[in-house]
Subunit: 420 residues, 2 copies
């Protein structure tokens, strides 16, 4: 096998550990210089390939690449850019293959979620048909934890840890003040249609008196009466009530709580997601003093409190993708396979991209308590290992030292401009 | 001097390190058992004294007291409860002295902000007049950093670190995505009328291209036109714009941005503080995709990312208060005195409560850049040392191990019930 180049791109919402996967890809590729000359990284994800705007990772030092392991965000730039079906979008797929051919790229590593796995799968198909077969490897990433087959998705463990730690900390604050001040605290978390992140909030406590007292899952249709009754009972019993609400929480008819809110004087839908909507319900029905937090990007970029297990797994899937490619595999994705809960053991396995693409894994009903407001022991067994271990970044002068790439471009070889 | 008891209470909004001050008080008192028999702690702050509901700290182990140093929130319960003027409220002050007298309490340690220093000052005065002189010591605490005389307020350094770290992390996230997604990110922080916490966000970057690109201070009247112009220039130049906004940001007429928002269909003032209001301005005027986070209690309870300097100072003021009391001082508060910026050196000094009470220290104009949107080098010199050092709590199974007190009550000695 002659020496070829590889292409790596980050896709979709970034995480605290997606760069750890990049680190796994590049460090592993560098160990196989006899087969992989260089890893070109797409600037702004797949857009970088389409516009022939690629970063030359060989120009980055070993220290810089190593530091990606502890740097959040997407160091090469990510993109929310979905290649559509082959038929509507043939030009884009062909362009990708043209760029790969021009730069002698034989390996395509796509680090993303469901959509990206669909793209990687299609690229693998079209590359064969165009007579320039490319090994296409998916690398899982999503804080939403909603990819099928893999036991967990790199990125999730760190958000889960952030949310569990923050819930525990904020609960201590609220409890201290409840006598004369805030009684209800609401933390809004991410997760889209899947309640995994909200579920992780449940790890903050273990007894019924512990916060969070209520979790609102997208998987459980919101019942306002039952919810308010629970808030009241909780404040009466424990003096305070901590609620973790998923941004995807919705009514039986599928309407998001966040959308169902009121409109302002100009007729705009109320801004601010679900936390203020829930807060408003509590205020109107019960009159309790409340506070709410919207963690937003803080949760998925909080590398300072990343899960050591998550960092390790993020690196491992990057490394495995390169190893799979070098073993001649294509259209597959490394997945995390759980071997045991206690002690927690896992290994890397593989799954065909066709089985990952465009599928979402929701929180199963057996992970949610009967009343719909909490997590079960089965959920704890699943979630607990994923937040284990701390992996602090280095600090200088009180701040984490994150790395910035030189980001030097690979010289273009195609003359035409491609507009995305 | 015969052996006496001490009373300690937490007051107002709690912090990540107020328990470190409690730890300083109790550990130091325990070193002087010949003078202080026991530290009684008010359950829910001063309310615990008024209702004779005090926690017997002698029943807590040394390990528990030591663990207060790394436990956020107010372990004894705090209260937003202000004793008013002596004349309107004589009964309450007299009740306090009655309880102190009944329990042989000769030392009163009040851990709080401006209001609490006022209370401690008044208690010192009335106790003399009532013929039962109590040594009244203030212990500074406020995330708002707005107490006069002291160089900084314990609690602030840790919020400052949280905000600087979170801003740096979220900025990396936004920058990765800006090409195809979110271009403007807004982080709402606390601080009431003082912009210290917002200013600390400025530590996240050091060059003009670095986030945060805009800080909105309560000290600078909000100018919508100038603000939007700056957001636009920033997105055009750097592809993204990160804004840190203080909850106290307001217009020239003193009206809070958060209040000036629109009303919902029911005529309620829009919920959600200042971040969604700012976000809405950006959307309407410029149309950029935005996200916002409201850190709320997460910022002031985030013991996991506390500043080591802050923890040390919080402990030191607790310790010094006991030492001052034993030296016969009253109506004073230990303050932090800065000796030098580089290397950062500080010592404990003292200030009379009368000079602290009911005064607020704002961010001086020379700490804010000419355009009003950033911090100056002088501000950096002041702020940078305060976030230095990490002081991680112990973790078990991926979560910080925070302590809960037994909280056993001191036996009541007064028969009457006092209603607060």
């Amino acid at each position: 096998m002659s020496k070829k180049n590889a292409f790596y791109a980050q896709s979709g919402g970034v995480t605290a550990v997606i760069n750890a996967s990049a680190c796994g890809v590049i460090e592993t590729a560098r160990k196989h210089r006899n087969k992989i000359s260089n890893v070109y990284a797409g600037r702004h994800g797949i857009i970088g390939a389409l516009t022939e705007d690629m970063i030359d990772t060989n120009r980055e030092t070993a220290a810089t690449i190593a530091a990606l392991r502890h740097t959040p965000g997407g160091a090469f730039g990510s993109a929310r850019y979905k290649l559509k079906g082959l038929e509507e979008n043939r030009a884009q797929y062909e362009r990708l293959i043209d760029v790969f051919r021009a730069h002698d790229i034989a390996y395509f590593f796509y680090n993303g979620g469901n959509d990206s796995m669909d793209t990687a799968h299609k690229v693998s198909q079209i590359s064969k048909r165009m007579g320039y077969p490319v090994s296409c490897l998916g690398i899982p990433k999503t804080v939403d934890n909603d990819l099928p087959i893999t036991d967990t998705c790199p990125g999730f463990g760190s958000v889960a840890k952030y949310v569990a730690v923050s819930t525990r900390e904020a609960a201590l604050d609220v409890l201290s003040m409840a006598k004369t001040s805030t009684k209800v605290f609401i933390l809004e978390v991410m997760g889209r249609h899947a309640g995994w992140i909200a579920a992780a909030g449940g790890l903050a406590g273990s007894k019924p008196a512990d916060a969070p007292h209520i979790i609102l899952f997208p998987e459980i249709p919101f019942n306002k009466t039952a919810f308010l009754k629970r808030v009241k009972a909780c404040v009466e019993k424990y003096d305070y009530c901590v609620i973790v609400v998923s941004e995807g929480a919705s009514y039986k008819d599928g309407k998001f709580l966040a959308e169902a809110g009121t409109r302002d004087a100009f007729g705009h839908a109320q801004l601010g997601g679900v936390a203020p909507v829930v807060a408003n319900m509590v205020r109107e029905a019960l009159g309790y003093k409340y506070h709410y937090a919207v963690a937003d990007y803080l949760q998925r970029s909080a590398r300072h409190i990343a899960s050591a297990v998550d960092v390790k797994q993020a690196y491992a899937v990057g490394k495995a993708a390169v190893e799979f490619a070098l073993a001649g595999k294509t259209a597959v994705m490394p997945v995390i396979k759980r071997v045991s809960d206690k002690p927690y053991r896992w290994k890397i396995a593989e799954a065909p991209l066709s089985r990952i693409a465009n599928k979402e894994k929701m929180v199963p009903r057996r992970y949610i308590s009967k009343d719909g407001f909490g997590i079960t022991e089965a959920a704890r067994r699943y979630l607990a290992p994923l937040i284990k271990g701390e992996d602090y970044p280095p600090f200088i002068n009180g701040l984490p030292k994150y790395v910035t790439l030189k980001g030097l471009p690979v010289k273009k070889r195609l003359n035409d401009k491609f507009v995305v």
